[in-house]
Structures are given as structure tokens and as C-alpha cells.
């Protein structure tokens, strides 16, 4: 009896499995793990459509006017040319010798003319103390005894005059406020 019962339960479980596989077929609109996210992705792939040039021209003829298409294309070409690193363009800058000489003459004339008009900025040195890059050059120079004597004389005179300064105060230094 137990044997018959186990066989019956086995058959029942198989029937349940068949029902599971048939469920999606019964409700086709409900999304499950086998539903495609993109509807018919092969036929709608842009890569495939691009290969068909006739289709491309007919498709985009409706979406964009012809002039805008040309503008977009030229803008794209311009942007590409601007963003591209073009090392070969470095050789393009070569002036003709005649133009070179003409420009030198023109610039020198203009500079002279400008200076004569008095429109130049006068640049005076902005400070006495400047950085001296070649200090070794100045430090290695010999110091003459005359210069040393002169500097000593000036220093002594300065010292004497500073020590001779006296303050002759005539008023009281501390002023009392009239606080009641």
C-alpha cells in the first residue's frame, strides 16, 4: 500500500512541473525572466541599419532638412579638426623672405613713429634693492683702502651726530585728563 502511495505522489509532482512550464504560455503579456528587454534587437540595431545606405538616406530625409544635415556635418568636421593634435601643421608656418623683410621694415617704422608721438610708457626702476644673481662676481672684487676709509669716516660722523641728538622737551609728556 505504501508503494502505491509513493508512486501516486511522484506522478502528482510531475504534473505540477508540467503546469509550471505551461504557465508563461497561458499569460503571454506578463514579463518574466525570459522576456526580451529590447523588442526584436537584431532588426532594430543601428549598426545594421547603417550598412544599408539607401535606408539611411530615406530615413533621415524625413527627420532632418538637407541644409541642417550639411551644417551638422561641417560642424562635426570642424570640431574634429580643432580637437585633433596635428603635429604636421607645424611646418606650415614659413614666411617668404620678401614678406619677412617687409614686415621687419614696417615694424621698425611703426616703433619709431610711435615713440616720436610720445605715447610710450616711461619705466623707472621700481626699487633700489633688487636681487643680484651673480653675487660671486661682486664679492670676489677687491675692496680699495680708500673706499674703506671713506665708509669708516661716514660711519663715525653718523655715529657722532646720532649720539648728539638731545630731546629738549618743553611741555609735560603726560597730559592729565580732567577726570573728576
Amino acid at each position: 500500500m505504501d508503494y502505491v502511495h509513493s508512486v501516486w505522489s511522484y506522478l502528482a509532482s510531475i504534473c505540477n512541473c508540467w503546469q509550471c512550464t505551461e504557465d508563461p504560455g497561458a499569460q503571454p503579456n506578463e514579463p518574466n525572466e525570459r522576456t526580451h528587454l529590447l523588442v526584436d534587437p537584431v532588426n532594430h540595431s543601428p549598426a545594421l541599419r547603417r550598412s544599408n545606405s539607401d535606408g539611411l538616406s530615406t530615413d533621415y530625409a524625413h527627420s532632418l532638412p538637407k541644409k541642417d544635415d550639411q551644417n551638422a556635418l561641417s560642424r562635426l568636421v570642424q570640431n574634429t579638426a580643432i580637437n585633433m593634435i596635428n603635429v604636421g601643421a607645424m611646418d606650415c608656418h614659413s614666411l617668404e623672405h620678401q614678406e619677412y623683410a617687409d614686415r621687419i621694415r614696417l615694424y621698425s617704422q611703426r616703433l619709431h613713429q610711435q615713440w616720436n608721438n610720445g605715447q610710450h610708457a616711461s619705466i623707472a626702476p621700481k626699487g633700489l634693492l633688487k636681487d643680484v644673481p651673480s653675487h660671486q662676481f661682486y664679492l670676489s672684487k677687491p675692496i680699495y683702502p680708500d673706499d674703506t676709509a671713506q665708509i669708516k669716516l661716514f660711519t663715525e660722523k653718523a655715529h657722532i651726530s646720532v649720539s648728539a641728538i638731545q630731546i629738549d622737551h618743553k611741555e609735560a609728556v603726560v597730559v592729565p585728563f580732567r577726570i573728576p
Binding site: A89, H93, S94, R103, I104, Y107, L111, P133
Partner: protein
């Protein structure tokens, strides 16, 4: 004008030890002013060398580092400092052991004169 500015630039040239040339050109490499010591550095003053700087600046900005205004080129015997002062280009040529910081510091001392010189180029 040229004499005064040349005298001024000559003073700057003497200030920085190892500096050989100061040159102001337009962007095509046509010289407006040049002061130099007795040194053969013609390679850096050739008409083809300076316009290359302008193009190199433009092209280098596309590498993603942004627009630069100074390019320092170090060679085995020389260094060349080029500054973008469009429409002018300021070029310094010095010895390889010349203090580059001192050369760069000259920029502010030349700037005042450049405004006047720019007018001569922009009128062209």
C-alpha cells in the same frame, strides 16, 4: 624708441648671468627687437623656430593640460624660454646652467614695454 628699449633690455640681459638673448617677435617669428651678447645662438632665432612655439602651444593645450603661456626647452648647451604674449612672443636664450627662475622673473619687467610694442603689430 628702439634705442631706449634696447638699452633697457640690455640692462636686463646683464642682470641675469648666463642669459644670452632677449628677443621680441610677432607670432610668425618676425623680430621687432633683439638684444644679445656675443654668442652664437642662431638656432633659436631662426624664423622657423619661433612659429613652432605658437603651434606647439595650441596643440599642447589639446593634451588635456589646458592652455599654457610659457614653454621652457632645455638643451645640452642652452635653454630657451618662450612666452606667449600674443600677438607677440618673448624669447629668452640662456646657458644651460642659467637660473631659469631669474629669466621668468624678467617677464614682469618687460611687460610694461610690451603694451607699446603690441600696438605696432596690431596696426599691421
Amino acid at each position: 624708441m628702439s634705442d631706449d628699449i634696447k638699452k633697457y633690455l640690455d640692462g636686463l640681459l646683464q642682470k641675469v648671468s648666463g642669459l644670452y638673448v632677449i628677443q621680441i617677435t610677432d607670432r610668425d617669428g618676425v623680430p621687432l627687437l633683439r638684444v644679445s651678447q656675443e654668442k652664437n645662438v642662431d638656432f633659436a632665432l631662426m624664423p622657423s623656430f619661433i612659429p613652432t612655439f605658437t603651434t606647439a602651444c595650441d596643440q599642447a593645450s589639446k593634451l588635456g593640460l589646458g592652455r599654457n603661456k610659457t614653454i621652457i626647452s632645455m638643451y645640452s648647451n642652452y635653454q630657451v624660454v618662450q612666452m606667449n604674449k600674443l600677438p607677440l612672443i618673448l624669447t629668452f636664450v640662456g646657458a644651460e646652467n642659467c637660473n631659469t627662475g631669474h629669466i621668468l622673473a624678467l617677464e614682469h619687467q618687460v611687460d610694461g614695454y610690451l603694451e607699446d610694442i603690441k600696438q605696432a603689430v596690431t596696426e599691421a
